[in-house]
Every structure is written in structure tokens, then in C-alpha cells.
């Protein structure tokens, strides 16, 4: 199982390519511009939900984007939570 990190918006090639390789049992942490992929009610979010991976968002980036109330259904983590994820998953793949 793989921890993916994505820090590009839903319009990016990185998002599309990450989505294609995201598999059930994997986790995806959205950070930077990647947090916009977590917006509830968007096509991008529906596509991520359908991939069957665990979804995480980085708190400070979600707060900066002004969308703290709009990422329901994802788990919000801080940097310590990010570190904990890297400990849980032996492999990590960065999409940017």
C-alpha cells in the first residue's frame, strides 16, 4: 500500500495521473493546492471518493485556502499526523 501526496489542483495533470494510479488500500494526503481536490460536491472530489483510498488533508493548507468547512468526509491532519502517515505506509509517492 502506498501513501500518495498531491499538491496540485484538480485541473492539473498531476491530479489526473494520481487518480489513475490510486488504488483501494492506499492513502492520499492533499496538501498545498491539492487541498482543492477535497472540496465537497466537486467532480474531482467524487473521483477521489470513487478510488477507494483513505483521504487526508493538511490542516494549515486547508485553512489558508479558506475551505475548512468544505472538506467533510476527509480526515484533517497536522504535520505530526503527516509524519504518522509516513510511518504507517512503507512507500510514499509525491505528485506535484
Amino acid at each position: 500500500m502506498i501513501l500518495h501526496t498531491l499538491n496540485a489542483s484538480p485541473a492539473s495533470a498531476a491530479f489526473a495521473e494520481c487518480l489513475r494510479l490510486l488504488a483501494p488500500g492506499d492513502a492520499l494526503l492533499l496538501l498545498g493546492d491539492g487541498v482543492y481536490c477535497a472540496l465537497a460536491g466537486t467532480t474531482a472530489r467524487a473521483q477521489l471518493d470513487a478510488a477507494g483510498a483513505e483521504l487526508y488533508v493538511l490542516h494549515d493548507d486547508v485553512a489558508a485556502a479558506g475551505i475548512l468547512g468544505q472538506t467533510a468526509g476527509t480526515s484533517t491532519v497536522d504535520i505530526d499526523g503527516f509524519v504518522a502517515l509516513t510511518e504507517r505506509f512503507a512507500r510514499q509517492l509525491a505528485w506535484y
Partner: protein, 126 residues
């Protein structure tokens, strides 16, 4: 003679997602793969999305002042990088002729790419 530590048998997969001359990531990704292989690490490459554009034959970047990436790719087998894979959907999107690529590459569908990721210990995305 210096002994080079074998990197504990870990398998590395470089995932290459950028076109050859748009930025420096393309060249960096190939050079990283060559360096890892030089240290006896098992290295495979996956060209994904726009990364397949690196496989176009007949690249002539001389006028840009860039070194020819296609020619560098052609040298990969000399560096013991034998396993090169490519995103079949992107091959189709860009009409890449797999019989003419600088290095031979095996086309994979998304489920096969997911498997490939799981078979490797280290994943480097470029």
C-alpha cells in the same frame, strides 16, 4: 578497489511525467535513474502522461541549446536499466510509435501500473 554498498536489494521505480524540453525535470529524472543504477540499485522506469513525449524518435534540440534526451534514453540498456514501461493511454493520446522509441518500452494499462507500483520499494515521482 572501493566497495560500493549494495542498497539492500531495494527496487526503485522512477515515474517520469514531464515532457523532454519544457523544464529540467525530465533530464533530472533520467540522471537520477542512471545514478541509482550506477550504485547497483535495481531501477525501472515508468513514463506516465506527458512523460511519454520523451520517447519521441528524431528529437533535435540542438537549436534550443539542450542536450538530446532521446539519445540519453537510447543509452539506458548500457546502464543496466532494462525495464522501461510506458502509459498505454498516453501513448495512444500522443500517437507515439512504440516501434520507433529511443529505448524499447512496454505499454501498461492502469491496473498493470498499479501492480508495478506495488512491486517496488522506492517510488520517485518526477
Amino acid at each position: 578497489m572501493t566497495t560500493v554498498a549494495n542498497n539492500s536489494g531495494k527496487k526503485l521505480l522512477a515515474i517520469i511525467r514531464h515532457s523532454p524540453y519544457g523544464d529540467s525535470l525530465a533530464r533530472t529524472s533520467i540522471e537520477t535513474a542512471l545514478a541509482a543504477s550506477a550504485f547497483d540499485q535495481a531501477v525501472c522506469l515508468l513514463f506516465l502522461g506527458d512523460g511519454v513525449l520523451q520517447l519521441m524518435p528524431d528529437q533535435e534540440p540542438g537549436a534550443l541549446g539542450s542536450r538530446n534526451l532521446g539519445r540519453l534514453l537510447a543509452s539506458l540498456p548500457l546502464y543496466d536499466i532494462e525495464s522501461v514501461y510506458v502509459d498505454a493511454q498516453a501513448v495512444s493520446r500522443y500517437q507515439v510509435k512504440l516501434e520507433n522509441t529511443p529505448v524499447s518500452a512496454v505499454p501498461l494499462q492502469p491496473p498493470e501500473m498499479v501492480e508495478l507500483l506495488r512491486e517496488h520499494d522506492l517510488l520517485l515521482g518526477f
